[in-house]
């Protein structure tokens, strides 16, 4: 027993380090989970007169997808969002985050628009209220306006099946 003790200690340590190696440091736990989605009112891309508020989505489960035209990972995610939008999944609202080049409208017209609405967060203040650290990030918000899930990074098939589907079932759509 005594002879194996150093090996045992080493294995435990190695186990922790190996686990740490595969953790994603970007996955910061969001303090917003279980709390009301912060309110805001922003003009909508393509229609400066209209304003979007999260309040207007009350009564439905929806996704708030934070994206930007300059974001490469968002383009990667775009195809899956299009697929989601066609499949009748929860409506997606695309918060256009810090789009200084004003390209969102043209880009969506060219590549397809998976979004129900595209609120325009030019100075990034709404992003800060949601604790956005980068694009893309996606929040799942329930009928009562409570944030149920936050996903950092592009959504793909596996992230959808592993994280979003179970949560949606739990909420009951």
């Amino acid at each position: 027993m005594k002879r194996w003790l150093p090996l045992l200690v080493f294995l435990i340590l190695a186990g922790f380090l190996a686990k740490g190696l595969f953790l994603n440091p970007r996955e910061v736990p969001s303090p917003l989970i279980g709390k009301a989605a912060p309110a805001f009112s922003l003009p909508v891309v393509g229609n400066a007169e209209a304003a979007f508020t999260p309040e207007s989505m009350r009564g439905q489960v929806w996704l708030l997808n934070v994206w930007a035209p300059w974001c490469v990972a968002c383009r990667q995610e775009h195809a899956f969002l299009m697929q989601l939008a066609r499949s009748g999944a929860p409506p997606i609202v695309g918060l256009n985050w810090k789009d200084k080049s004003r390209e969102a409208d043209a880009l969506l017209a060219r590549t397809g628009n998976p979004y129900r609405a595209v609120p325009d967060d030019l100075d990034g203040r709404v992003g800060i209220d949601y604790g956005v650290t980068g694009t893309p990030e996606t929040y799942l918000i329930d009928r009562d306006g409570i944030v149920r899930l936050k996903h950092v990074g592009p959504i793909d098939e596996s992230a959808w099946n592993k994280k979003f589907e179970p949560k949606l079932k739990e909420i009951g759509t």
Binding site: V28, G124, D129, V132, T133, G134
Partner: protein, 166 residues
């Protein structure tokens, strides 16, 4: 050889020296893009830097909010500046940030149940070390009692005596 090298280096450096003295200083004002002007209030700027040194930039996670050049860090500094100008104290600003980004923004996490192990871990390990030390010492003492038999002592004394005689 050395002089020759020096001459070449000097010749190469001279135009630069000349340029340095000839080029007019860049005009102050909006044309100079370096170092965006800090807030008009140096007191707030000082508070901002002091506070932001202990806050984590969420984009480059090993940099402080004070030192990071990322856009998000700039936005957050702007936000903190605005709040300080509104008369909020440091604790209120920290509460504002942790509400949005969690305790992760703090380089000094608060002392609460989930961080007990983090804060007390070193003490815990010190305790374990002391316990092991104590056990090992006690065992060693128990294993090696002071029993030197009399004949061996006498033999040693004889040898010592012989040596000192010589």
């Amino acid at each position: 050889m050395k002089n020759w090298l020096l001459a070449i280096l000097l010749a190469w450096a001279l135009p630069a020296l000349a340029l340095d003295t000839l080029t007019p200083a860049p005009p102050a004002g909006p044309a100079a893009r370096e170092a965006p002007p800090t807030a008009a209030d140096p007191e707030i700027e000082q508070r901002l830097v002091k506070l932001a040194t202990d806050l984590r930039c969420l984009v480059c996670q090993n940099e402080s909010l004070a030192g990071s050049h990322s856009e998000l860090a700039e936005d957050l500094r702007r936000e903190i500046r605005d709040q300080m100008r509104q008369g909020k104290d440091d604790n209120e600003v920290i509460a504002y940030l942790t509400e949005r980004y969690g305790d992760f923004v703090l380089y000094r996490p608060p002392f609460k149940p989930v961080t007990w192990l983090l804060w007390l871990g070193p003490l815990l390990f010190l305790g374990i070390g002391l316990a092991i030390w104590y056990v090992v010492l006690r065992r060693r003492r128990a294993a090696a009692p002071d029993t030197v038999d009399a004949s061996a002592l006498a033999a040693a004394a004889r040898i010592l005596e012989e040596k000192s005689d010589k």
